[in-house]
């Protein structure tokens, strides 16, 4: 009798435990960025990078590509965002090999490919920084929803600033834009979403 009661209690506990575990493991992943549904290929662009080379977005098909629009004179927003991405890649460990980070310059007048390479290297040596003609940068930025303009403000040493949309975008392995992070997203939040996309 006692044994049967114990078995019953054990059974109830097991059901509750299974339900809790099931809910925890089967709950859908809640993304920290906005998920986009389009399966269309994101606009393929070419960037001039250090060493007189060019890279295209489509060169990285099969990897996740994190795209950020910024510039090397950027005093705070760009380093904060690229710092968060650096942290996220560190959190990913070996999985970080399946992620390519690309910074597109919104300052084609001042950012040379060499300058961009040196800038992104401070964050992570695998990051790519690239630029193009002002016309092509305007085109790429518009199609990626990035607004930018020369600001009225200047830095202490007289360099002008550029106001720009500070979102971060993730292109999936098939080349479709899947995720848009708002400014202020943390490294661990980026890492969680990237991990889920790489599962």
């Amino acid at each position: 009798m006692m044994k049967a009661r114990l078995t019953l209690l054990g059974g109830i506990a097991a059901i509750l435990l299974a339900a809790a575990a099931g809910f925890y493991f089967l709950r859908p992943h809640t993304f920290h960025g906005t998920v986009l549904q389009s399966t269309d290929t994101a606009y393929d662009f070419t960037l001039h990078v250090a060493g007189d080379k060019t890279v295209k977005l489509s060169d990285f098909r099969g990897k996740l590509v994190v795209i950020y629009f910024g510039y090397t004179f950027c005093p705070d927003v760009c380093p904060a965002t690229l710092g968060a991405v650096t942290q996220a890649l560190r959190d990913l460990g070996t999985k970080a090999d399946e992620v390519q980070v690309i910074m597109v310059s919104v300052d084609p007048e001042r950012d040379t490919p060499e300058k961009l390479a040196e800038y992104v290297r401070h964050f992570n040596p695998t990051f790519i920084g690239g630029t193009n003609t002002p016309e092509e940068i305007a085109r790429i930025a518009s199609l990626y929803g990035i607004f930018y303009e020369v600001s009225q403000q200047t830095t202490g040493n007289g360099e002008y600033l550029i106001d720009h949309t500070a979102t971060l975008m993730v292109i999936d392995r098939n080349g479709s834009m899947k995720l848009v992070f708002p400014f202020g997203v943390t490294g661990s939040e980026i890492a969680e979403d990237l991990k889920y996309m790489l599962r």
Partner: protein, 226 residues
Amino acid sequence: MNIKNILLRALYGFALLIVIGAFAFKIFQPIKVLPRIRLAPAFALTDQNGERVTNEDLRGKLILYTFSYTNCPAPCYDMAATMQEIQSRRDESNLGDIPLVLVTISFDPARDTPSALLSYAETLSANRPDWIFATTSDASLLKTIIGGGFEAYYEQKEDGSFAFTPTYILVDGWGVIRGEYRYSTEVSTADRIIRHLAVLADEAQNATGTAKLAYEAAHLFLCYAQ
């Protein structure tokens, strides 16, 4: 019956419940959403008052875009009438505090100067900031914005008029395209857009905390409003 069996049954039962729940959600669709299609393009245009308007100025608002030109010879597909109807019936969408902005982008910057756009806006009793008429003299960028970003076709013909596909694009406060209306359906375009505005407003007002999970499930199960 031993504990192992009970545990297994409980697990099977729970898995079954999840599957039934998912099917029920998909079939009954208790929550409807609009897809997050893709990012709307960024732009800086000049409006009917000669002032600059950018996509960043419109962030946080619901925006309905259409693309046209003021010299469209009759019979011209009249998108302004649909825009006017949506503006006059905006209360039906229960938008609450969420601002709705209508934006007509002209693909004829040579003739649609700010003053031409202003006269046209006045004939429609359209006022900024509720209804913006804008364009840019940078023809290449205009093509990128309208043709590339909004995927709305237009092309100037030899006689100066334009061939174009009547298009309306609904964008949310995050700059994400949530509705594209390019073809006539049985239900009028205005009716569909008004209904879709209500769906967007509902999500913006209610998808917080735990309820956000239910809205995300609706996205996951493609429970899209018709």
